[in-house]
């Protein structure tokens, strides 16, 4: 409940404030967002599985974001930032899909 509320509040704040992304963060924000989305879907699945734990969610959320940003940063330093970003997005996308499939099975029994 609080998480959903927080999501809504965050979206509203973003809409109201309309901030600009600092240039040094620009390559990492999209990856971080995708990673966080992955964590949220994993958390939702865990809720439906009945194994949700706040602490695990927070840790997985933060580690997902940090690792994703770190990988992209490393890729940028190595000169393969664009390719590595694509790779990270693909991997996270696959995980989001599998989590969404699990959630779907729970909710729709199909």
């Amino acid at each position: 409940m609080i998480a959903a509320l927080g999501l809504v509040v965050g979206i509203l704040v973003g809409l109201v404030l309309q901030p600009t992304v600092p240039p040094e963060l620009q390559p990492y924000l999209p990856i971080a967002v995708v990673a966080a989305l992955d964590a949220v879907f994993g958390g939702l699945r865990a809720v439906l599985d009945g194994i949700f734990d706040d602490r695990v969610f927070v840790v997985s959320f933060l580690s997902n974001v940090v690792v994703a940003a770190l990988v992209v940063y490393l890729g940028d330093q190595l000169g393969v930032g664009a390719q590595l970003s694509t790779g990270v997005v693909v991997v996270l996308g696959i995980r989001i899909f599998s989590n969404a499939a699990a959630i779907r099975r729970h909710v729709f029994k199909a």
């Binding site: 927080g6 965050g10 992304v21 924000l29 994993g42 009945g50 706040d54």
Partner: protein, 282 residues
């Protein structure tokens, strides 16, 4: 919602065979036993239960993270929508710059080619136009000479009245020759255009020009210098005196600022003569 006895087991919830286990989901061992007692609609109850705030610190933290996620999501979407070059990587920028440079080169060469084509077309058009004008001018002057085009200009009107038919064709021919000698450019007698091949013949009924019988008074319309023509007509021993010597004939010349010669002659297609090749001409 009743659970059929042989209902699907939900012990592997969301983990179909072959699917990768999700490291980011939270397989907390201490919560695993719940799974064995869950029924098919258990997830919904869990969902509802999860919606009830417990106020724990971890939950608040999760909410905060979700808020950050929502915020970042909106910011990123907005950023992408108004994406400009500033948000691109260096390599991408270099690639874009290269593309632009190539495109610029291509467009420049294309522009040069088009400009060349345009110049060619323009000069071709003007050359064609000049040639057309020259040809038109030639057509006009040749038409006047050949009597196929009407002409106008200053000149005289020469009227020879000969009710008795005392004048012969040679007198009229002399008059025409005299007019030509004094610079007449276009001559029309009655309705006959006088050209190089025009003939004056005596017939039983009178004088015929190019086969057309002329009726007195003979009305000459002449384009040329009016003063010169007038003087030439009245020269002693000239046309005037010859006409005056004929009984009953009268002679009259009037200078006009504008004479319209509109009698036309149908050009004859030469039967034998044809244009010589330009190279054959020495």
């Amino acid at each position: 919602m009743s659970v059929p006895p042989g209902g699907p087991p939900d012990s592997p919830p969301g983990s179909p065979p072959g699917s990768t286990p999700d490291p980011s989901s939270q397989p907390a061992p201490e919560q695993a036993p719940h799974r064995s007692v869950s029924s098919p609609d258990e997830p919904r109850r869990r969902l509802l239960r999860a919606l009830v705030p417990r106020g724990s610190r971890g939950e608040l933290l999760a909410g905060l993270l979700c808020a950050v996620l929502g915020f970042a999501l909106v910011v990123q979407v907005r950023q992408t929508q108004e994406a400009d070059l500033g948000s691109l990587r260096e390599t991408d920028l270099v690639r874009i710059l290269d593309d632009l440079g190539e495109r610029n080169d291509r467009l420049e060469s294309e522009q040069a080619e088009l400009a060349r084509t345009r110049d060619e077309l323009r000069s071709g058009t003007s050359a064609r136009e000049a040639a057309r004008q020259a040809a038109q001018q030639q057509v006009d002057s040749l038409g006047i000479l050949a009597g196929t085009a009407p002409a106008q200009g200053p000149g005289i009107r020469l009227t020879i009245t000969d009710p008795g038919g005392a004048l012969s064709a040679s007198t009229l021919l002399d008059a025409v020759q005299e007019l030509r000698d004094s610079g007449a450019e276009t001559i029309q007698v009655d309705d006959v255009r006088v050209v190089a091949s025009t003939s004056f013949t005596d017939t039983q009924d009178g004088v015929a020009a190019d086969g057309t019988l002329l009726q007195s008074p003979y009305d000459f319309l002449v384009i040329g210098d009016p003063q010169t023509l007038d003087t030439a007509m009245r020269i002693p021993g000239g046309v005037e005196s010859r006409v005056a010597s004929a009984p009953g004939a009268r002679f009259d010349v009037r200078q006009l600022d504008e004479v319209l010669v509109d009698a036309l002659r149908v050009p004859e297609t030469p039967q034998y003569a044809r244009p010589a090749e330009p190279t054959a001409t020495p």
